[in-house]
């Protein structure tokens, strides 16, 4: 079975400060990992993914994420937060072996960036 944990329901950051949204995962094999962002009344938008190779993945809108196999984590980061980054962020995982094609999502982290 595959699962994702997002330990923080909400993260508050001042604009211009770095942000981190945490994600840990559990799979029986090796993972494919994804981050999505959801704005109100809109569908999920793909931000970035880890497939293989470099542990630091860069994505849309200046976001990046670091894959850490020993800690089974895939935290989302951005060096300088913008008010427009305020949204709901979801981490998702697929097990490469036996997980099929379905994504398993975390419960989401609400990011609030304030002036």
């Amino acid at each position: 079975a595959q699962s994702v944990a997002q330990p923080e329901d909400q993260v508050n950051v001042a604009e211009g400060n770095p942000l981190t949204v945490k994600c840990t995962y559990s799979v029986s094999g090796n993972p494919y990992l994804f981050w999505y962002v959801q704005y109100p009344n809109r569908g999920l938008q793909f931000l970035l993914k880890y497939i293989t190779g470099d542990n630091l993945v860069k994505g849309s809108y200046g976001f990046e994420a670091e894959f850490n196999k020993s800690q089974t984590s895939f935290h989302l980061k951005k060096p300088s937060a913008l008010v427009s980054d305020s949204a709901l962020y979801f981490c998702a995982v697929r097990d490469r072996s036996g997980g099929g094609n379905k994504l398993t999502f975390g419960t989401g982290t609400q990011l609030k960036v304030e002036l």
Partner: protein, 115 residues
């Protein structure tokens, strides 16, 4: 180009009614997924199609839920005899290929309210 579209965007049904939710995937996308997102939760997998073949329906919560994609493009999720616990946002996603490393692109969702 056009993204994934879903209709209707909002649906109110009385308990016991049947509903049909439509998904138009991105043109040329082979894979199509349905997810259910309850309030305050992450999306949960319902079913997966590759072209017209339904390869995984392990997430469908009961035999009242039925999905089809007869020509390998548009898909319909049907819920018979709706119950209050069916109230949720139903998300459709498509991806270019069936390979698990491909990201999924989500539609805006259909918010179903069962009264």
């Amino acid at each position: 180009g056009a993204g994934v579209s879903q209709s209707p965007r909002y649906k109110v049904a009385k308990r016991g009614q049947d509903v049909a939710l439509r998904c138009d995937p991105i043109s040329g996308h082979v894979s199509l997924f349905w997810y259910q997102q309850a309030l305050g939760q992450g999306p949960e997998f319902l079913t997966y199609f590759q072209n017209e073949a339904q390869l995984d329906k392990s997430g469908l919560p009961s035999d009242r839920f039925f999905a089809e994609r007869p020509e390998g493009s548009v898909s319909t999720l049907k819920i018979q005899r709706t119950q209050q616990e069916d109230s949720a946002v139903y998300l459709c996603a498509s991806s270019l290929d069936g390979w698990p490393s491909y990201e999924q692109y989500f539609g805006p969702g259909t918010r179903l309210t069962v009264t």
